[in-house]
């Protein structure tokens, strides 16, 4: 078991910087998910922790050792690869116990751990097969087994579920969560899927263009994104960004005046001129709803007379599109709200969930 610390990690290939200075502290036993769009440097960061890539500068500390100059095989790390990387010439069983055989663990112990893990991952029937004869989901479980059986200090996951279909993916996601709860190893998990990030992580680290855009618990990231990138990357459907103007007393959106003193989280204190400050306003689709579904105590704002352009029934809820300040805005409404296309309706929004960003830097005000 070990904590991991990354100190100002930079990685360049030739002249292009892929990772541009990352500082990150991962506590012992913590499940950290690195999430971001492709090319953000998340996989490179994971591979540097593994030792498969070397940082151009900065230190990687696992436990109490600086591991920069330690070969990957000596870092006591287990890893699940995106394409599983099972040894095609070995049986499932040999794939799983390969590391233990090398460590000269005695046979009884190997058998004990093997039976425990194959039972947990439902691999008992498959042990004698070759990877080529397995389905994608089975291969994934073998790859998991191979990583778990080591009882290594650190688990690394490199987009382990991205090759599975959506049903299997959500099943395996739950399994990974269970396994982590059982073993409690320090885990670093790379994905571009924000659902995996939200559901699995103790701490989500959103990477953007080689930097950490924000890190925090899933709920912090969801409710209090510090910039528009994070705000839009996390959450589905993604957050609406609407043009607005901030005045001393209120926020103007397309003629609607939202009272400023009830907007939470606006730390912006500088005086505002009479012509107001152009800002971007972020409202998640989830925080709109019909009046009927808010309780009296909630502080809300009523956007009156909106014209609905499109209704998309999603099953449990329905998504509607309307126009606000020149942007097409999406709201996720309760299934029971009776809304018809083209009709004028009123939608309420939870004022404490309206976020205001700087127009240029796109950082939270």
């Amino acid at each position: 078991m070990a904590a991991i610390t990354l100190k100002n990690i930079v990685k360049s290939y030739d002249k292009t910087q892929v990772v541009k200075g990352i500082d990150l502290a991962i506590e012992d036993g913590e499940f950290v998910v690195l999430v971001g769009p492709s090319g953000c440097g998340k996989s490179t960061t994971l591979r540097m922790i593994a030792g498969l890539e070397q940082p151009t500068s900065g230190d990687i500390i696992i436990g109490d050792r600086v591991v920069n100059d330690i070969e990957p095989q000596d870092r006591n790390i287990a890893m699940v690869f995106q394409n599983y990387a099972l040894y095609p010439h070995k049986s499932v069983k040999e794939n799983i116990v390969f590391a233990l055989r090398r460590l000269k663990v005695d046979n009884e112990e190997i058998e004990r751990r093997l039976s425990e893990i194959s039972e947990m991952l439902q691999l008992e029937e498959l042990l004698e097969r070759k990877p080529a004869d397995l389905s994608g989901g089975q291969r994934q479980r073998v790859a998991m087994g191979r990583a778990i059986i080591r009882e290594a200090d650190v688990f690394l996951f490199d987009e382990p579920l991205s090759n599975l279909d959506s049903k299997l993916r959500s099943h395996m996601r739950t399994e990974i969560g269970k396994i982590h709860n059982k073993f409690g190893r320090t885990s670093v998990y790379v994905t571009h899927d924000q659902v995996e990030a939200m559901t699995l992580a103790d701490k989500v680290v959103v990477l953007h263009d080689g930097y950490i855009a924000q890190s925090g618990t899933p709920m912090e990231i969801y409710l209090n994104p510090t910039n528009i990138f994070v705000a839009q990357f996390i959450g589905s459907p993604s957050m609406n960004i609407i043009e607005g103007t901030l005045f001393n007393d209120y926020l103007d959106i397309d003629g609607y005046h939202l009272p400023r003193n009830q907007l939470s989280n606006v730390a912006y204190q500088a005086p505002i001129t009479d012509s107001g400050l152009k800002v971007k306003v972020g409202i998640r689709p989830d925080f709109f709803n019909d009046k009927a579904f808010f309780s009296e105590t909630e502080i809300t704002f009523n956007f009156t007379g909106l014209t609905i352009d499109l209704i998309e029934p999603m099953g449990f809820d329905k998504e509607v599109l309307f126009n606000l300040a020149g942007s097409s805005v999406k709201a996720r409404l309760d299934l029971r709200s009776d809304i018809t296309l083209g009709a004028k309706i009123d939608l309420l929004v939870d004022l404490s969930r309206v976020l205001i960003f700087d127009h240029k830097t796109e950082q939270r005000l």
Binding site: G51, Q54, P55, N68, D69, E71
Partner: protein
């Protein structure tokens, strides 16, 4: 460089060192040594006297050398064109799966892998003026030729026998290269062309050929590179066909031995070859 990267580089060098030593000592060094030798009068026993450019002057005033260049050019022309066309025809013919394709494949690959020394005897027998089936066919059966001739005995006709032999032996390579490209052309393209009203011939010119352009260039270039150096296939079948390699061999090891002259011939040939190889590496491999 981090210590781990340094360790990797060190390991890389360690693994490749034997290869570098062997190839450097026995290919690159000899190639340079060859240039050195070309300025000497070299005896078979290793005795050398410096003669400057005399070998080159001797070579360039030797009519036999020019006739060897002419023979080589004809040989290259015939083999390159023949091999490419036959290879293309084979690839088109065998592109789609059919029953027994594996066996046909093995049969047509056989000439390529068979030892030259063995198959030349088969060819010599085929063209034998007394017992050979070729003479039987053209003289007795079809009556095209009036009398039996020794095609291999006469250098002029032997050249074409040698060309045919090379086509027979190396068309399989062209076939493999072209086939690997041909099978990667997507069916959609053919089906789209068919729907646009193109028949088999139209489809060949509008879909197949443009896709094959690059691989055909590869085949031509590779044939040039390998056949410029071709020795055994020519020498063992018809030693009287004097392409450049055979010319060089005779200078170096038979009759009036003049290894310096042979070295000079090789130097010029290497220069030409290097142009081909450079072209191949740059344009085909795109390195």
């Amino acid at each position: 460089m981090t210590p781990l990267e340094r360790a990797e580089a060190k390991f890389g060098w360690k693994l490749v060192t034997p290869t570098i030593l062997i190839l450097g000592l026995l290919i690159l060094y000899p190639l340079m040594y060859n240039v050195y030798l070309s300025f000497f009068d070299v005896q078979l026993n290793g005795y050398k006297t410096f003669v400057g450019f005399e070998n080159y002057i001797k070579l360039l005033t030797n009519t036999d050398y020019y006739s060897a260049i002419g023979t080589t050019s004809l040989y290259l022309l015939g083999t390159v064109v023949g091999t490419t066309l036959l290879g293309l025809a084979m690839a088109l013919l065998l592109k789609d799966p059919f029953k027994g394709r594996g066996l046909v494949n093995a049969a047509i690959m056989l000439p390529y892998v068979a030892p030259v020394i063995s198959v030349v005897f088969g060819w010599q027998f085929l063209f034998d003026p007394i017992s050979g089936v070729v003479n039987y066919l053209f003289v007795d059966a079809l009556g095209i030729w009036s009398e039996r001739t020794n095609l291999i005995g006469n250098p002029d006709s032997a050249l074409w026998v040698v060309v045919l032999f090379d086509i027979w032996k190396h068309a399989p390579i062209a076939y493999l290269l072209i086939l690997s490209k041909l099978v990667s052309v997507s069916r959609d393209q053919y089906e789209a062309a068919a729907i646009d009203g193109y028949g088999p011939i139209g489809r060949f010119f509008h879909v197949t050929l443009p896709e094959l352009y690059f691989v055909l260039a590869t085949v031509v270039l590779l044939r040039l590179i390998w056949n410029l150096n071709r020795f055994e296939d020519v020498y063992l079948l018809a030693p009287n066909v004097q392409t450049l390699p055979i010319f060089t061999y005779y200078q170096a090891f038979t009759g009036v031995i003049d290894q310096g002259l042979a070295a000079a011939t090789s130097v010029i040939q290497l220069a030409v070859l290097s142009v081909f190889i450079w072209f191949y590496i740059k344009k085909i491999m795109k390195w």
